[in-house]
């Protein structure tokens, strides 16, 4: 099949009232240039309000203006409201979409989210600062290490803690392994949505290696809670760096393997190229970050532009593409995996020079002592007891941390009132904002393209619903 040409816009009754989301009707060429409310011309994208993704009720209400009384009209000019999800394999979780379709063409689309809302922000307010770390694992459950890092950075900013270099580089190493792992899940499931089942098996084979590394380091495959306030949870096992190095040496071959399965595959090309186009201006207006933003030609990466955790000492490229389609997002993520491998190598080199240096921040009232000390030293036992039973007080104030998660910019906003429990923890996950761009990317395309686009923005519903 080929989607290289857009289907003709479906015919609508011209007497029907114009829908609020007018972009469905091709804009007249001779009309005045679109402006936003400030009067500034928005070159290349529609009226700012047209970018706003509708609610479910909007889609249903507007569809009634396209409907004709049953039997009075040929079927070809009728539209249909279609429910997709929340139990649908290609929505990557419990995402529900309500689409208005004309034949197979999407007229408008509204996501209905909240099925996975577990009130993590509320729960966090009732826990000690250190008890929030395991909650953050479960937000974007594909990249727990990144969640941990973002939360730890925000609290460390409030505390004014200095983190030793070894911990910082260990965080970078694990964050990049997490990025590879997350992109492998994305590639596997994305390819499976498009119909390339083999890729999924290959991706999960390598993902298994990374999860085993995580298990060796933290004791957990997925919900690792390894990166803690003040550093990391434990000293990593002695042989782990060699294991990681072995994986990294083998991995670029595997990327080529995936590309060998996909790059020249006519179905893959047909389903991805020219589909779900998002311009850079639209991406910025809609708050899109991460690979979809860079695939739309906006060269922005938090790791490089606002470095955290020692990223300023690493040399890496930020892959950018100007095409803005699903294919561009595929290319950008594949390149990102290669860059992550390079960052991991550099992190391992740094770590090799830092053997036996301090791992965690020198803050005995905040960082739990290790078991050995706790069992043998009175002071450590007291600190341990105090941290576990009373937590630690954090100076009042507010702080935002920002990291480049595999899915995009992840911010943690932590407000302290000076007690041992956070007054407010708020997470900005890229997935939540990226989902807002779904309608802009899918309008006027086929239903099958919606599946390709959902795969390409790589959403995790745990991060959206929290």
């Amino acid at each position: 099949m080929s989607n290289s040409t857009l289907p003709d816009p479906p015919l609508l009754d011209s007497t029907a009232e114009a829908p609020r989301h007018t972009a469905y009707n091709a804009p007249a060429a001779d009309s005045a240039p679109v402006t936003d409310t400030t009067g500034a011309t928005l070159a290349g994208f529609r009226n700012a309000e047209d970018l706003i993704i509708p609610g479910v009720e909007d889609v249903v209400e507007e569809s009634t203006s396209h409907h004709h009384p049953h039997g009075s009209d040929p079927v070809t000019s009728q539209t249909m409201v279609l429910n997709m999800g929340p139990q649908h394999p290609s929505t990557h979780g419990v995402l529900r979409l309500v689409l208005e379709v004309d034949g197979e063409t999407v007229i408008s689309l509204a996501p209905d989210i909240g099925y996975l809302h577990t009130g993590i922000e509320k729960t966090a307010e009732a826990k000690f600062y250190s008890q929030v770390t395991p909650l953050t694992d479960r937000i974007d459950y594909i990249c727990p290490m990144t969640n941990n890092t973002a939360y730890a950075l925000a609290v460390e900013k409030l505390l004014g803690l200095e983190i030793p270099e070894r911990s910082q580089y260990l965080r970078v190493l694990l964050n990049e392994l997490t990025r590879i792992q997350s992109h492998l899940v994305w590639l596997g499931t994305h390819a499976m949505d498009i119909g390339a089942l083999t890729v999924f098996l290959y991706c999960f084979r390598e993902r298994e290696d990374i999860l085993r590394i995580f298990e060796a380091i933290s004791g957990q495959r997925m919900m690792s809670s390894y990166i803690r306030i003040g550093g990391v949870a434990l000293e990593p096992p002695a042989d782990i760096y060699d294991r990681i190095r072995k994986f990294l040496n083998a991995f670029p071959k595997h990327i080529e393997e995936y590309e060998g399965l996909l790059n020249a595959n006519p179905i893959w090309i047909g389903r991805l190229k020219g589909v779900g186009v998002l311009s850079g201006e639209e991406a910025i207006a809609l708050g899109v970050t991460g690979p979809p933003l860079r695939a739309s030609g906006v060269d922005w990466d938090v790791r490089r532009d606002m470095p955290y955790s020692g990223y300023d000492k690493f040399k890496f490229n930020v892959p950018v593409s100007k095409d803005g389609d699903v294919w561009a997002r595929y290319i950008v993520r594949m390149q990102e995996m290669r860059e992550s491998v390079s960052i991991c190598h550099q992190a391992l080199d740094f770590l090799a020079t830092l053997r036996d240096t301090r791992l965690n921040a020198d803050a005995p009232k905040i960082v739990l002592p290790d078991r050995e000390q706790m069992k043998t030293q009175m002071e450590s036992l007291i600190h341990h007891f105090k941290i576990v039973t009373e937590g630690f007080q954090v100076p009042a104030g507010e702080a935002t941390s920002s990291v480049e998660a595999p899915h995009g910019m992840m911010n943690y906003y932590v407000v302290s009132d000076g007690t041992a429990k956070p007054y407010r923890v708020h997470m900005r996950n890229a997935d939540f904002a990226n989902l807002q761009a779904l309608e802009t990317m899918c309008k006027g395309r086929l239903i099958a393209d919606v599946v390709a686009v959902i795969g390409s923005i790589d959403i995790v519903l745990g991060a959206i619903d929290r």
Partner: protein, 169 residues
């Protein structure tokens, strides 16, 4: 303009409009929002500007004009039982300046409302719905302010401090 984050001459913490406007006189956001700032602080290398809730659209527009092109998120903090009860916190990023600012507005608890900025940044759509859902703050001018996380028939707004953590039983 020297970046205040890396500039060693910047003090660690500055509080108050007067002090911040003097110490960070060349900061793009301080220049752009000067007329609108009620209070300001530079704390932990983050600039927080407080504006009046009725001026939020003007403040967002001024920030956008000052080069802060990317809306990151908006959330709220419930300072119950203090008044004005809610702190609505906007996080805005400048990709050109590589700076982030926070714009705060305090909203009363009796009739919490603050203008929607969706016409300035469409990205605010979901975030304002979330704040409405979980805090009960209204955003006049939002295209369709409905609950986004909780079911439509849910009672109360869970992230308010007077809402029990374990829910109503």
């Amino acid at each position: 303009m020297a970046d205040p984050i890396t500039n060693p001459a910047t003090p660690d913490a500055i509080f108050g409009k007067q002090a911040v406007c003097e110490a960070l006189a060349d900061h793009a956001a301080v220049i752009g929002l000067k007329e609108l700032i009620l209070d300001a602080k530079w704390d932990r290398k983050e600039l927080t500007l407080t504006v009046a809730p009725e001026n939020i659209r003007a403040a967002a527009q001024a920030a956008k004009d000052a080069g802060y092109n990317f809306f990151e998120d908006v959330t709220a903090v419930d300072w119950y039982p203090a008044e004005p009860r809610f702190q609505v916190a906007y996080s805005i990023l400048s990709m050109g300046l590589k700076q982030r600012i926070r714009i705060n507005a305090r909203v009363s608890g009796d009739d919490p409302r603050i203008d929607s900025i969706t016409s300035i940044w469409p990205a605010a759509n979901f975030y304002e719905r979330e704040v409405f859902d979980l805090f009960g703050i209204h955003f006049p001018g939002h295209p369709r302010l409905t609950r986004i996380m909780m079911p439509d028939n849910w009672n109360g707004h869970p992230l308010r401090k007077d809402y029990p953590v374990e829910g109503y039983r």
